[in-house]
């Protein structure tokens, strides 16, 4: 009895003592750190005045844990990046590699397991002085999940010298392999079209070939049911995907935007108007 009354307040005392020494958000030890290592890396070993420098946020995730794509799907949240750049430097948009479908029927999320590099170009001013050391920093806010989710926040920085020419950094290879997962513009010979038909969007990809099984990832939330099966049917010169409309979609959408990933692992950008009229065409 005595023990119980002693130990509980002691536990509370210890817990509050630990709390006092907890680091502030953004510094080293926080619960999310156990499940993801985050680094800010550069493709090149120096800053060249006026020339884009590719920087990347590398997520190295513990087994079974994942983080999210720009459209996280049915749950979760995409990482957010806030740059702290030297005067005159400008950061471009994050380039999102295509995600994996993380399925928990009847729902699905879009995200990354194992590793991902979120890269962005940063342009230094043309008049940057050679020899100067410049500090580039960023705050990353992210969510990592397994079955449970933990939010994290990390302050990252990188210092590089301004030089007239740059060589590849040791991280250069990571950028090359990450680029293979970035969606490219669709080849000019392809014809992509989308139509709204009842409870579905019909996405036609006329590529000249019919032997491929693509997967569509919507860029915007609540346009299609993420967890629904994407049935494919063959067209003479391509393939047709049947995408179930989201029940949250109450109005017609003017465009369907997303990424199409072929069985080969090649990804292409889809950004097409959605025709509302019923198209006459051969029945499948």
């Amino acid at each position: 009895m005595l023990n119980r009354f002693f130990i509980r307040p002691l536990g509370i005392f210890l817990a509050s003592a630990v709390w006092l020494f907890l680091p502030t958000p953004g510094s080293a030890d926080q619960p999310a750190d156990e499940h993801v290592k985050l680094e800010l890396i550069s493709e090149q070993d120096a800053i060249v005045p006026g020339k884009d420098l590719w920087l990347g946020f590398r997520f190295d995730l513990q087994r079974e844990w994942h983080t999210y794509w720009i459209n996280p799907g049915d749950s979760g949240e995409a990482p957010r990046i806030e740059w702290q750049l030297p005067a005159g430097f400008q950061a471009g948009a994050i380039q999102w590699p295509y995600p994996e479908r993380l399925s928990t029927p009847p729902f699905a999320d879009y995200g990354y397991e194992d590793q991902v590099l979120l890269m962005a170009p940063v342009r230094p001013p043309a008049q940057s002085r050679e020899g100067e050391l410049q500090k580039i920093a960023a705050t990353v806010r992210y969510l990592v999940c397994r079955d449970v989710c933990i939010p994290g926040q990390k302050q990252l920085e990188l210092s590089l010298r301004v030089k007239s020419a740059a060589a590849a950094s040791p991280a250069g290879e990571l950028f090359r392999s990450a680029r293979a997962r970035l969606p490219s513009p669709a080849p000019a010979s392809w014809k992509i079209s989308a139509a709204s038909r009842g409870a579905e969007f019909i996405l036609d990809l006329k590529t000249g070939k019919s032997a491929m099984v693509p997967q569509f990832f919507p860029l915007q939330a609540e346009q299609i049911e993420n967890g629904a099966r994407q049935d494919a049917s063959m067209l003479p010169d391509g393939i047709r995907l049947h995408l179930k409309k989201s029940k949250h979609l109450l109005k017609p959408i003017p465009r369907l935007k997303g990424v199409i990933v072929l069985a080969s692992g090649k990804a292409y950008v889809v950004d097409v108007p959605v025709s509302q009229a019923r198209k006459s065409g051969r029945k499948q």
Binding site: D74, S75, G76, E77, R80, T104, P106, F107, D109, R141, L143, C145, D147, V148, C149, I150, P151, A199, A221, E222, E225, A228, K244, K247, H248, L249, L250
Partner: protein
């Protein structure tokens, strides 16, 4: 024969649509669930009142955002005092994050000073699946005629940061405010944000 075909089509369509949960503008599906005090609640017993359904998981950081800031408790107090029925629904399966016994839930409600009309325990996930509840929180508003008028996020800032609450547009208060004033709900759906509901699989 023709008539039979037509009816079976209607039934099939109904089944397909119900597999994806209820849609705004349709009748909210009936449920019968026991609350943390052992009392049984049916949605249909609340005809004539607005009903809010709040999906909940006490271990989820998005739920914590709205409880530790007292935002959810403030909403519960404000709207129940105006005659709205507020059901907190817990669909976490036993052994999963957010699963609670009736006693644990009552202790939580007391510790958090939360005042929903009732906390409904749905460990089998039946009500969650019926409504296609995706996240915690995921909010639904049913009007006095039993029609679903809002399905989506609690507000417009999908983060775990409490500091975002003040500048966020609260879609639940907006829907209730507009509907109680006899106006159309201007944002009837949105992407619910948060942790996935920890259903039994």
């Amino acid at each position: 024969m023709k008539r039979n075909l037509c009816c079976s089509l209607v039934i099939t369509l109904f089944l397909i649509s119900s597999a994806y949960g209820v849609k705004v503008g349709e009748s909210a599906p009936e449920f019968q669930v026991t609350d943390s005090n052992g009392q049984v609640h049916k949605l249909s017993e609340n005809r004539g009142k607005f009903v809010v359904l709040e999906w909940h998981n006490n271990g989820c950081p998005y739920t914590a955002k709205h409880y530790e800031s007292r935002n959810m408790q403030r909403l519960q107090k404000e709207w129940t005092s105006k005659g709205v029925v507020w059901f907190t629904v817990i669909s976490s399966a036993p052994g999963k994050q957010g699963y609670v016994t009736a006693q644990q839930e009552n202790e939580y409600l007391k510790a958090m000073n939360a005042s929903p009309t009732a906390a409904l325990l749905d460990p089998q996930g039946d009500v969650g699946r019926l409504y296609s509840a995706k996240t915690t929180p995921h909010m639904f508003v049913v009007n006095p005629a039993g029609v679903l008028i809002y399905d989506g996020a609690i507000d417009s800032k999908p983060t775990t940061d409490q500091a975002d609450i003040a500048s966020a547009q609260n879609y639940v208060s907006q829907a209730l405010g507009e509907a109680t004033a006899g106006k159309a709900v201007s944002v009837p759906t949105s992407r619910p944000y948060g942790c996935s509901v920890k259903y039994a699989h």
